[in-house]
Structures are given as structure tokens and as C-alpha cells.
Symmetry: C2
Subunit: 197 residues, 2 copies
Amino acid sequence: MTLALDTAAQDLLFREARTANTFTDEPVSDEQVQAIYDLVKFGPTAFNQQPLRIVLVRSDEGRERLLKHMAEGNRAKTATAPLVAILAQDNEFHEELPSQLPHFPQAKDMFFSERPVREASATLNGALQAGYFIIGVRAAGLAAGPMTGFDAAGLNKEFFGDGEHSVLAVVNIGKPGESAWFDRSPRLAYDQVVTTV
Amino acid sequence: MTLALDTAAQDLLFREARTANTFTDEPVSDEQVQAIYDLVKFGPTAFNQQPLRIVLVRSDEGRERLLKHMAEGNRAKTATAPLVAILAQDNEFHEELPSQLPHFPQAKDMFFSERPVREASATLNGALQAGYFIIGVRAAGLAAGPMTGFDAAGLNKEFFGDGEHSVLAVVNIGKPGESAWFDRSPRLAYDQVVTTV
């Protein structure tokens, strides 16, 4: 019993969870997304920055606007997923640091006054938050289908248009449908990944 | 009951888990790290790429080599944590794609022949994997103390030196000690993060 997390939870989040490519019609409610957010918002980031922004695509018009920027191989599943979430980083996240890091409000100006520095930080920490979000989708008993095959510049302009946001991933969300996944691909062995000094 | 994950697991991974700044002397074994890896290796990435590399710092000499590159405010806790893990991205991860993505081995050359493209992909997906790793540390009943305050160029050279790796974060790992954390800082409200189209 090396892990404290119970086996059912391990399976739900990692061992049996898979990236879904087909979905049932069962809708994903705003209440479910709120419950996911209210769980994963506690995941740690540097300076408690919270660059992740989430656009839920619910309308037919929104779906059309999204689909035209997706890679062809991702279009059919993105068209039929019950819910699609666009995950982006807000490159102006530092504006919120004084309220989100009340014991060290000067972090905003000390560390993040330069756009390239805060953009790199938003990428790293936004991706960490995206990882927590994917785990949260699975915690809700749903399958996630994260994708990076899209025209990023096109999506940024289409859904933000302010030059201040960069899309990280697009995630299909729902209950897995028929033939929802391929066989699982291999993973690197521990010794290929972990070394000790 | 909006989430499928049981409340104890929610608390262990997100609600009660905190970034620790002090630790007890209780060691963290290789078996624990192996169990963490064997769980979180299943977290999804683009093209099943696995850029994350982990250096466990166990020797006194390794700790000294690490400490000199850490920001001053991170040095004391990094010196005393039972285990420190350096998380880095391998920018040559594409070499493993033919074995890790057997149904689409041509992805290596189709998408990742250019270093800047694969470096950006390794950052995004390495950070996703870092997020899964932090969740895995918590799943083991341990506290994680992830840090980004260090001389990245110095660490890259010190521990890799091949120009092919970029450090993402350094993570202190152990059982939380006395006064292990500050009060929890606020999180953005759902409506500040999530919009619907």
C-alpha cells in the first residue's frame, strides 16, 4: 500500500481514464463544470498565479467558430462532443496578483513587469492548471479529449482578439461513446525518466 | 454528488493538500517515487509524448550542486526537504515517438523536426506531466513544494549540460513539518475564469 489514494480513485483519474474520441449524447452541465473548477482551482502554481481561462462552447454558432480552426482530424469529434472547453492562458494574469497573493503584492512588479517573462510563466503555470483541469474532468466521472491540433493564431483571434490570451489546448468533454479510444500506447519505463544524483 | 471522486480523495489531492515549506525527517523512498510515477505516467499528452525527466537529489553532493542555483528564499527549505526532485523537459523527446506512438510513428518527422516547435511542445506537455506528478505526490500522502525560483540556465548546465533539457520546476517532497504553510491565498471565482459562447 504505497499510495494513500484509494485504488478506485487511482483508476478513475489515471489507470482506467482514457482520452475519448467519441461521446454519448449525455449533456455536461454548468454545475458539473463549476464543481470541477471549485476542486481544481486549489492546484498549486508559482506565486498563486491563475492564468488559466476557460471558454465553454455551447452554442451552435460558437461550435462553428471553433471548428473552422481545428485540424481536420480533430473536427468530427469536436463537432459531436457534448461540451468543448477552450483552455487559454491570460498573459496579463499579473494584474490579479495583488488580490491573489495578498502577503506579497509587490510580486506583480518585481517579477512580471516584462511581457515575455510573464508570458513564459503563464504558459508553464497555465499548463499546470490545464493538467489539474483534465484530472478534474475525470474526477467528475467524465472523459476528457484534450487536443493541440488547431490553428492557434486563428483561435486566439477568434475567441479573444485582444492579443492578451494564448490558447493552450481544446478539450472535448463527455461520457465516452462507442469505440471511444485506441489501444493504450506504451509509457516510458521508470529508469528512462528518473535518475538519481 | 456532482463529482464521482470521493470526498476523501478530493481533500487529499486538492482541498486539504498544501504547498509545504517545512518537512519532517521522515524519508521518501525510491519505492514511493516509483509508485507515483507508475500512476501518473498515464496522464494524457499530445501524441503520447513524454518529455518529463526527473532527477532525484539524494546525495549531499547533489544537494550542494542544486542549492547554489536556487533563489535565496528557497534555499533553506530545499536544503532540509527529505527529497528534492528536479523536473525538466527533454527537448529531444521526439526520438521516442516511434516507440511511444506505434500507430503513428511518422509524427516524429511530420510535426517535430524543428527544434523550436518541439521545445514549445515539450514545455506545454512537460508542464502537464509536472502537474500530474504533483498530484501523484499528494496521492502518495506526501506534501509537494514546487518552486520556480532558481537560475534556470545554471541548473540546466549543472544537471544536464547537453543543451537538450530545460528545467521546469524543482519540487520539495516529504511529510509536512511544523508551520508548514501560510494561510491559503484566494482563488479566482468561477465567473472570472469561465465564460460561455
